[in-house]
Amino acid sequence: METEIKLRINGERYSLRVDTRTTLLDALREGLGVTSTKKGCDHGQCGSCTVLLDGRRTLSCLTLAVTTDDTEIVTAEGLGGDNEPHPLHRAFIDNDAFQCGYCTPGQICSAAGMLTELDAGHPSAATPQGSEPRLDDDEIRERMSGNLCRCGAYSHIVSAIREVGGRA
């Protein structure tokens, strides 16, 4: 069954007809050619499909497109362009934070969302009870645990995020 939705994706307004079964991930990739968002597992287990939905990091493979009517989506390519990369794009390159690059757009969106959560004082499982979170490697690892990297670029991903988070 088809439904019409209106949303913003990377700053552009769209009006789309989507099958109610279509995930946001498939709507982005197959429907709109926004291919930076990657399909790894399609079951919420890898994080490669992470996008920002109204500013919050979310898995697009477990989000039905129909539910995103009237929302704002930002993907890794929407965070910055070729001429003005986002600080996280820059830091991932400078720190050699990927090999094949398949998980990278998801890592970058997740890192952007996670730094916002940290700024807002949200705790994580690495935050000692009763204290405020600080950006350290344990916090980064715990908060990024929903993003898997088959190439094992983890230690450089941590340095890239530390660099950007420390700057803010």
Binding site: M1, T3, D19, T20, R21, T23, D42, H43, G44, G47, T50, R56, R57, T58, L59, L62, T63, L64, V66, T67, D69, S110, G113, M114, E117, A120, G121, H122, P123, S124, A125, T127, Q129, G130, R141, E142, R143, M144, S145, G146, N147
Partner: protein, 330 residues
């Protein structure tokens, strides 16, 4: 995936009436469990009624010191809420021990309580499973049971309830507010989930069309010092093998009050009443903690593949109690 209709609900009564009237209708929360099940073919509803825009997203302070949590509050927002962090730190810890940052941003309080088991056979539609297809048999019998129940299982099903949040809420004596076709009612969280018996298809006592609207946490000064400890196969982003939610009160070196709930061990979050009574009045030392764990474990019935849960639980219970009592003596 079978085609289905989608409706966004704007009114609680309307949402309940719609689902109650339509056998093929289900509520949709954050979708992190349901959408997965649609893909896996575990369920094939005809209508999804989206309840995330019902404005059930408030965390309110109650006059008596308790807190009321709307069913639509996202797991991440609940974990970060100052009232929860101050009054019920165990709940914040349990939420943060579950899933990932992305999933917690989507998952709702109501959906989390009603998430279904992660039993590999339940999730694999090519294998028999009494929970998914009543009467088809249980593939876990003689199968892979590392994550299965050690308490309260039946010959028909030994699946576990996977929620971390529910374990902390059980320890906190939470009450669930339900809106059904005939009106609102309150259900103790302890009575919400069931043991499998010969009807493993029913995870809870809820009827078709029942909408969870909120969870109330009664005032609990004991919970200001409370902890959640989770043991799993990797350090983060994995379901519990076992988990413990605990709170204790100690006076003059003796435990005056203790509350303990366990996760990953049964078809529902498990209240460790025997351990609680063993602790009441005991001297707060390692010997008493170990004795409390033994008192509970005496009624465990491990399977071939999950006997490892016994030593894990012994260790987790002892460690969490030691942490809490050490804090107390400081």
């Amino acid at each position: 995936m079978k085609p289905f209709d989608y409706q966004r609900a704007h009114d609680v009564a309307q949402a309940v009436a719609t689902v109650a009237a339509e056998p093929g209708a289900v509520f949709l929360g954050g979708g992190t469990n349901l959408v997965d099940h649609l893909k896996l073919g575990i369920t094939a509803p005809e209508l999804l009624v989206d309840v995330t825009r019902l404005h059930l997203d408030e965390v309110e302070e109650l006059g008596d010191g308790g807190v009321r949590i709307g069913a639509g509050v996202r797991n991440s927002d609940l974990a970060a809420h100052p009232l929860i962090r101050q009054r019920y730190p165990v709940l914040s810890e349990a939420l943060l021990a579950g899933a990932s940052g992305q999933l917690r941003n989507a998952a709702t309080t109501g959906g989390n309580l009603l998430q279904r088991t992660r039993c590999v056979y339940f999730q694999d539609t090519t294998t028999p499973c009494n929970k998914r297809e009543p009467g088809s048999g249980c593939s876990a019998l003689g199968g892979y049971t590392r994550h299965h129940a050690i308490f309260g299982a039946s010959e028909h099903c030994s699946a576990t309830h996977p929620s971390d949040m529910a374990v902390a809420m059980l320890m906190l004596d939470a009450v669930v507010e339900v809106q059904g076709a005939t009106g609102p009612r309150r259900v103790a969280l302890a009575d919400l989930h069931r043991l499998p018996g010969d009807r493993p298809q029913d995870d809870t006592i809820l009827e078709h069309g029942d909408l969870i609207t909120a969870v109330e946490l009664p005032a609990a000064p004991i919970a200001r010092r409370s902890r959640y400890r989770k043991v799993r196969d990797r350090a983060s982003y994995a379901f519990a093998l076992v988990s413990v939610a605990a709170a204790v009160e100690v006076a003059d070196g003796r435990i005056t009050e203790a509350r303990l709930a366990l996760g990953g061990v049964a078809h529902k979050p498990w209240r460790a009443e025997r351990a609680e009574s063993a602790l009441r009045g005991a001297v707060a030392d390692d010997e008493a903690f170990a004795a409390a764990a033994e008192a509970e474990l005496a009624r465990a019935r491990p399977l071939e593949g999950n006997a490892v849960k016994l030593p894990l639980l012994r260790g987790a219970i002892t460690a969490v109690l030691r942490d809490l009592c050490e804090e107390d003596s400081r």
